[in-house]
């Protein structure tokens, strides 16, 4: 524990603890939530829009569902959103970056100019356009955000490969007659692992935030599934009189995004990674 604090500093450690708690809550949602049924979406109209009390710690929404339970269930959606967006982005960006960096020449030019097309648009705008075109839904919103996200991984992977491909051990493999595919997978890919995993871990936060923004705009998960962005949106109609409806999920998003950002800074300072603008 003291070693962890030494390496990440106090803010980083606290952020890490918050994120770990979040993961734990997501996994244990049915046991942690005071009203699991309402968390899943069963209405409880008798208690609609009750203010925070001993019975409903964070109040209830317009269908009388316990906000705390809803937020706890929303953790699952938010985290899977974040993780899946990063995973999809890696799935597209990594092969593109590896190929561009390794082969160079016109392949590099073609792939990277294609990548630039996606970077030319503001990320959120492109995500909204994609989501609008695909229609709302869990998977669609993830695809929409991934489309704006993968170019960063392509560029990161490419820059790693540019260094690695001239390493003597890669050259030695080439001189032994090892095929390009095998060189990339066996000799280059493992070495790109560390910087890419750090970046990917840091990106879960911003990705989750973007997904929340989409669902706030009604382009994400559909009710009755609990989702923070969508809850903030639903609560707007009752704001400010029933302030807790919007404020509590909003605050949750704020805390989670802050935790990821702080942890990211802590890791980046330690690892000396690259700074980059997030969406």
């Amino acid at each position: 524990m003291t070693r962890l604090v030494q390496r990440l500093g106090w803010p980083g450690t606290i952020a890490l603890v918050v994120i770990l708690l979040l993961v734990l809550v997501a996994v244990l949602a049915p046991w942690v939530a005071p009203y699991p049924q309402q968390g899943v979406g069963v209405p409880n109209v008798a208690a609609k829009l009750s203010s925070p009390s001993a019975q409903y710690w964070l109040g209830t929404d317009h269908l009388g569902r316990d906000m705390l339970s809803r937020i706890i269930y929303g953790t699952r959606i938010s985290l899977t959103n974040g993780v899946l967006i990063v995973a999809f982005s890696l799935l597209i960006g990594l092969p593109v970056g590896l190929a561009a960096g390794y082969f160079g020449g016109w392949i590099d030019e073609a792939l990277m100019r294609g990548t630039d097309v996606f970077l030319a648009f503001p990320a959120l705008l492109l995500a909204v356009l994609m989501a609008a075109a695909l229609g709302p839904g869990f998977l669609n919103s993830i695809i929409a955000v991934s489309v704006t996200w993968w170019p960063w991984y392509a560029r990161l992977a490419r820059s790693e490969v540019l260094v690695l491909r001239n390493q003597p051990y890669v050259e030695a493999a080439r001189l032994a007659g090892v095929s390009h595919g095998r060189i990339i997978i066996r000799h280059i890919l493992p070495a790109t692992g560390r910087p890419l995993t750090v970046q990917a871990a840091l990106d879960v936060g911003p990705a989750l935030l973007t997904a929340a923004a989409l669902s706030f705009l009604g382009l994400g998960v559909l009710p009755p599934t609990a989702d923070w962005g969508q809850m903030v949106d639903a609560g707007r109609k009752f704001f400010p009189a029933r302030w807790w409806y919007s404020a509590t999920p909003g605050l949750t998003i704020f805390i989670v995004a802050l935790a990821f950002s702080v942890l990211g800074d802590a890791l980046r300072e330690r690892k000396g990674g690259t700074a980059r603008a997030s969406a």
């Binding site: 003597p168 051990y169 030695a172 001189l175 032994a176 007659g177 090892v178 095929s179 070495a191």
Partner: protein
């Protein structure tokens, strides 16, 4: 000399591209090098840094494009080979580079590193391959328990032995060494040179040996080629060049390497 030479290079010119569209064409890095290396012989290519010896070597390895000239490897036109044909033909060459810690993949075990060229040429992994790998390692003077280690756990000399074992894996006719001893300390250098001399004898290898250190090559080479600023300034049998260097530059190279009285390290003087 009726047999085809292992390697024959004729009028090889290598020129790097100038920077910018209107930049003057740079002087060639290698300006018309020619030599032939008979089977079972060793040729030393000597020169300071910037003399073009590394460019020449990289061109022979097909890592650099050639402006003009030809390279025949074992009677085959080496420069026109493409893609898969080139990839397969690479098994005729074994390459050992300067720094073994950079040329051995840091993430693989020694066994995996040695298996890599065999797998690349389509051999199946299995007990036979394991036996072959262990044999290679012992030929290079390392016990089999090194197989599960990684390169960073080895000393410089041990790692270079692994690199030599890897280069030998496909039983190449020609071994190419790029400064194989300059990253090692002196006593280890001598051991590696002895290993090379033994391998040459037992396997009938042809060797191409690139170095800035004339004394290192003089005692294992049959002939020498001295380069300076892209030109071949001297080429002939080792004894003749060492006895009576035609160029002042060669004499200077010979007098480098302080600390020994004799200009040539004699094989008998090396620890075994």
């Amino acid at each position: 000399m009726s047999e085809a030479p292992m390697l024959e290079v004729q009028d090889l010119v290598i020129r790097y591209r100038g920077r910018g569209l209107f930049a003057a064409r740079p002087k060639p890095a290698v300006n018309g090098a020619s030599f032939r290396l008979a089977k079972g012989e060793t040729l030393g290519i000597v020169g300071e840094s910037g003399s073009g010896k590394t460019s020449l070597l990289r061109a022979i390895l097909r890592l650099l494009p050639v402006e003009s000239g030809s390279v025949q490897l074992d009677g085959q036109d080496w420069l026109t080979l493409k893609r898969d044909a080139l990839r397969r033909a690479r098994q005729k060459l074994g390459v050992v580079s300067q720094n073994p810690f950079l040329s051995l993949s840091p993430r693989l075990t020694i066994a995996e590193i040695l298996a890599e060229p065999l797998l690349a040429q389509g051999q199946r992994s299995g007990p036979d391959m394991q036996k072959k790998i262990a044999g290679l390692l012992s030929d290079c003077g390392l016990p089999a328990d090194f197989l599960q280690r990684r390169a960073r756990e080895l000393s410089g000399g041990q790692a270079q032995r692994v690199a030599i074992a890897r280069a030998l894996a496909l039983e190449p006719g020609l071994m190419i060494f790029d400064e194989p001893t300059s990253a090692l300390d002196v006593s280890v250098q001598a051991q590696i040179l002895n290993l090379l001399a033994d391998l040459k004898e037992s396997r009938g290898l042809s060797m191409l040996f690139v170095t800035h250190n004339l004394k290192v090559v003089a005692h294992i080479s049959d002939s020498l080629l001295v380069m300076r600023r892209g030109d071949v300034i001297e080429y002939g049998r080792t004894e003749e060049i060492v006895r009576a260097p035609a160029q002042e530059y060669t004499r200077e190279l010979l007098s480098f390497g302080r600390g020994t009285e004799h200009p040539v390290i004699h094989k008998t003087a090396l620890p075994t």
